[in-house]
């Protein structure tokens, strides 16, 4: 059914169609509308049987999900930003125990300075946590990925994080195709756990493991992600057959066949990039876009296949590794090992900084003209950066950085002419 609906509501309804049995809710912007929606659906009896637990923290949210999943229930939660960090210990625990929890991550910056707006710092901080990380480019994909995620997670007994850009997607009202319950039921079988806490067949889960087997347990988690590399496109294909929509999968390329320059990105910025690339192509530039849908497992072969024919690759990242540069870039370069392709990292959109077509077009023209630095912070306000550097050089007690910069920028009202 076609609906005009907010991204968060679409995800809540998609999760509802997956018949979750335990939902753990803790508020944090910008995921809050999702758990609000689910709370209403559970309380009104539209999701039943289901326990909706208002927990006291994100750490508890993931811990309750762990208990529920280990007891054989389909468990779901959602978080963002600081919430993901606060639950980090339990995030690693869920994957270590092989519990197929599905979690929405409404991507948001990590403080300090505190910032509620979108970037990918939260996802990237848990890059190595052992969860599958899928990125949605638009709200229809966010919805579809949740249904695919439960299937993937439960098949592999491994948790899946569906990442969608906070506000840009979660709060955007778009036209959505909402599947029916029958369609989803036919696609997603009931959860059959590999391990379950059951008095009829007592098992110990989470025992101490020493050097004699720890590496093997970790290797098996990696092996499962390798299997996921095969299953993700297969599940996307099956989903496409049943629902008629080509969403999910490992990567998605636009105009890459003849491209000399390819921009690599994750999430909603792919939409902006596609429009930018159309514009640049009209100017005769041979340029394409590669969207990475599956960040973990990272599809090295699929990425290499698309990128290896290009002259240069620009990785557009909404996060960065302080003291190094790109996070996604590092993985992309590994995929391109030995290939004669120039690599650039463009960090953009941190903390919700708008990524405009104009800035993208200008940056990409610089790349084609070989004028781009290997690491570029797009639309960085050098004026306030340099003022702060001068301040620090001039005085030991230069004060708190963020507050100094905000004073230099001036109030929002002062800029309204």
């Amino acid at each position: 059914m076609r609906k005009q609906i907010e991204g968060s509501r679409a995800v809540a309804e998609a999760v509802a169609l997956a018949r979750p049995e335990v939902i753990c809710a803790y508020p944090i912007s910008p995921q809050t509308h999702i758990v609000e929606g689910l709370g209403e659906l559970v309380k009104s009896g539209k999701i039943a049987p289901c326990e909706f637990v208002n927990v006291e923290s994100e750490f508890a949210a993931m811990s309750v999900a762990i208990g529920a999943s280990a007891a054989g229930a389909r468990a779901y939660t959602a978080t963002a930003s600081q919430g993901l960090l606060f639950m980090a210990e339990a995030v690693y625990n869920a994957s270590g125990l092989g519990l197929p929890i599905v979690m929405t991550l409404a991507n948001r910056a990590i403080g300090a300075p505190i910032n509620i707006w979108n970037d990918h710092s939260d996802s990237m901080s848990q890059r190595d946590c052992g969860w599958i990380q899928l990125f949605a480019a638009h709200n229809q994909e966010a919805l579809d990925l949740h249904i695919q995620a439960f299937k993937l997670a439960e098949e592999l007994s491994m948790p899946v994080m569906v990442c969608m850009d906070g506000f840009i997607l979660t709060h955007a009202v778009e036209g959505i195709d909402m599947p029916t319950q029958d369609e989803v039921d036919a696609f997603l079988p009931p959860y059959e756990p590999r391990q379950v806490l059951d008095p009829a067949e007592p098992v110990s889960i989470g025992a101490m493991v020493g050097p004699e087997a720890f590496m093997e347990v970790r290797y098996l988690a990696h092996a499962k992600q390798t299997v996921a590399l095969e299953r993700i496109p297969e599940i996307a294909a099956e989903f496409c057959d049943r629902f008629g929509r080509n969403t999910g999968g490992l990567v998605r390329s636009y105009h890459c066949d003849d491209a000399e320059t390819i921009v690599v990105a994750l999430g909603s910025v792919i939409g902006t990039l596609r429009e930018t690339v159309e514009e640049l192509r009209r100017d005769g530039m041979k340029i394409g876009v590669l969207g990475i849908s599956s960040f973990r497992p990272f599809p090295l072969a699929a990425v290499r296949e698309v990128l290896q024919g290009a002259k240069r690759v620009v990785v557009l990242e909404k996060s960065f590794s302080v003291g190094l540069g790109g996070v996604v870039s590092t993985d992309v370069r590994l995929a391109l090992e030995g290939a004669p392709v120039r690599g650039y990292t463009v960090v953009a959109g941190l903390g919700g900084r708008a990524i405009t077509r104009a800035s993208l077009a200008s940056t990409l023209r610089d790349a084609v003209d070989e004028k781009l630095e290997p690491l570029t912070f797009m639309d960085l306000d050098w004026r306030i950066v340099n003022r702060q550097l001068e301040r620090e050089a001039a005085s030991r007690r230069s004060g708190p950085i963020a507050e100094n910069l905000l004073r230099d920028v001036g109030s929002v009202a002062s800029k309204v002419s």
Binding site: E21, V53, S63, I66, A70, P202, G206, A207
Partner: protein, 333 residues
Amino acid sequence: MNASIKFYQTGTFTVGNRLLSPEQRSVQASLERSNAINSGHRACQGCGEALGARYAVDAAMRAVNGQLIAANATGCLEVFSTPYPETSWQLPWIHSLFGNAAAVGTGIAAALKVKGRQDVRVIAQGGDGGTTDIGFGCLSGMFERNDDVLYLCYDNEAYMNTGVQRSSATPHAARTNTTMPVGPEPGAPFGQGKKLPLIAMAHEIPYVATATVADLHDLENKVERAMSMHGARYLHVLVPCPLGWGADSADTIKLARLARETGIFPVLEAERGEVTAVSKIRRRIPVEEYLRLQKRFAHLFGKPGHPEMVAAIQAEADRNICRFKLLDKTEAV
């Protein structure tokens, strides 16, 4: 519920099985016993926690006809019982993290409810560190939501698993490796620490009780009582630790008994925030008798010693006796 025991000898606190009616007798081993924590684990000799957990979990198993699932915090109990494949647990058991046992218990209970398996019940358990400190947030959340979990805290009054460091359950003046007996105020500082049973009561949950391994019947009865109820329940069990307390392994039971008889550890039951029963002190004992058996308090005695600290601990015990009415009416405080 505590049938009074007639003591035939004066000056002793022990009572042999042969002097008790059959239903009051302790049963160490029997075919009916579930042995939920089986023999062969790696607890120290004289471990109060192993004893307390064995009786508590077995009592819970009996109370619910073996339909029990346990969530366990990281700590001594988890470590000594599970180096695989030598798991001691004869019931479905999960260890997730140090600070989340109560929340994992909540999740299990939620799953069982959805599955329509309300015959299967849930316990969560941990030491004092996992309960009063790092797991406190999850525990308080589980309490306030009144989730259907019995939480068992085995309190040995410090982080014993990591080598005896202070927790918020460590008694004043006690030596731990982070409260060394040096300086003008040796040991754990006065004026700090928390009494978790009282905090649990403040949540007005259906049932809160304390017990010690000195009275295993009382412990079993309280577990049974707790399992006859639904909602959030809390049982705080004092379990002496020979290693951490610097005590003789043979003195575990004696120390637990002295903790009660001095008034240092009040043994009580409460429902919905109100105290409903207390175990009366049979013969009041000065705290010094309890403290002197433990090397963690050795700096309080000898030369120069800290008689003012012993007096402060005595005052705390006296306050407990007064506050919880631990003496029979016939004996004045």
